[in-house]
Symmetry: C2
């Protein structure tokens, strides 16, 4: 029951369960089962029940899970009931796409500051936000009490940005830069690298398809 004992692989699946429940709720469904969730995700029902059992008992024998209730429980476990403020570094094509993607908002995240070092971009308005000078990173992050950041700068600048973020007090980083960041162990990090995904699929393609 100590959170430290819960395998990370279990934590990584919880957002998938939450996302599935959100979709079901959006379609007006009120009750589901571990089997139904599993079918949607390609995961066994046993695994879903086992994963949830790390945190408590959320279902009823014979009937399954109340979707609204389980959603709220998962939101609380993942700490996404409240909205988190997020800083975005990089206002290039990728940064702008991140900024305009509505999924963050729905997932419990609000990008409240965007930074770039390019003078051409600084001061430019993107949606509700004005691009800030990266020189103000520390100041703004501290002022707003932000502890999550998204890195959307070129690989060559990512480590430097990460260092500045850690220095400003950031505790979780989502990085789109295709290289591993050197970070203190108390800072969470996840990477998004589409090329890695593609390259592990081409392994399975038959040679005649090239």
């Amino acid at each position: 029951m100590n959170p430290l004992e819960i395998p990370e692989i279990v934590i990584r699946r919880l957002p998938l369960y939450l996302r599935t429940l959100n979709l079901m709720a959006a379609q007006g469904q009120t009750v589901t089962s571990s089997q139904e969730i599993g079918e949607r995700l390609g995961i066994s029902s046993t695994q879903i029940r086992k994963d949830l059992s790390y945190f408590g008992e959320f279902g009823k024998q014979g009937t399954g899970y109340n979707i609204e209730y389980l959603r709220e429980q998962l939101r609380q476990i993942l700490q996404v009931s409240q909205r988190w403020k997020v800083a975005l570094i990089g206002a290039g094509d990728l940064g702008r796409a991140v900024l305009r993607y509505s999924g963050f908002e729905e997932g419990g995240f609000e990008i409240t500051a965007v930074f770039d070092k390019d003078e051409q971009k600084i001061g430019r308005q993107i949606g509700k936000l004005k691009v800030l000078d990266i020189a103000k990173l520390h100041e703004v992050i501290r002022e707003q009490g932000i502890c999550i950041a998204i890195i959307a700068v070129p690989a060559s600048e990512a480590q430097e940005v990460a260092d500045a973020l850690v220095n400003a007090g950031i505790k979780a980083i989502l990085s789109y830069a295709p290289l591993p960041l050197r970070l203190p162990s108390n800072v969470q990090v996840h990477y998004i690298d589409p090329v890695i995904g593609l390259q592990s699929m081409t392994y399975y393609l038959s040679p005649e398809q090239i």
Copy 2:
């Protein structure tokens, strides 16, 4: 030695090794060791040697691995020595960011066609490509002999697009839409969902940081 027996989790790590070797080569390094690769990636040297041993013997006792040689071997294993043609569906903010990202090119992929259903976008020039009408999806994919696609359309349209892609002969899909696609088992799929990554990090953040 039968490819079918190699665990998928091993295949998923190979692109990381390749990426690391690429970075080393770019810095002019010519030789490395399993320990050095492991340190960069946060993976044990034993695991790297074990993973590579599924495919052959690529190193020399006492000296390690020739970077150029191991790179080329990994490229061949992953089938990314040749350039793959890729179709991109969706020319919104995300699609444009994907199109302008140079990492695909470097990873062995060339986006050779981009589609959208929005008449406002069809015909527009993005970099070297003109946005095509999604009605021409089947025709163009067959003509060009494309077998990999990237989905960058809203979640509500992703399944429909996926069905059309499968119908056109696509064998591998990278989807940015935050939901699981229903696909034939002979079609590879990988998902990119940044919110999932963020939500599994917030679990570990201490509540006072909210």
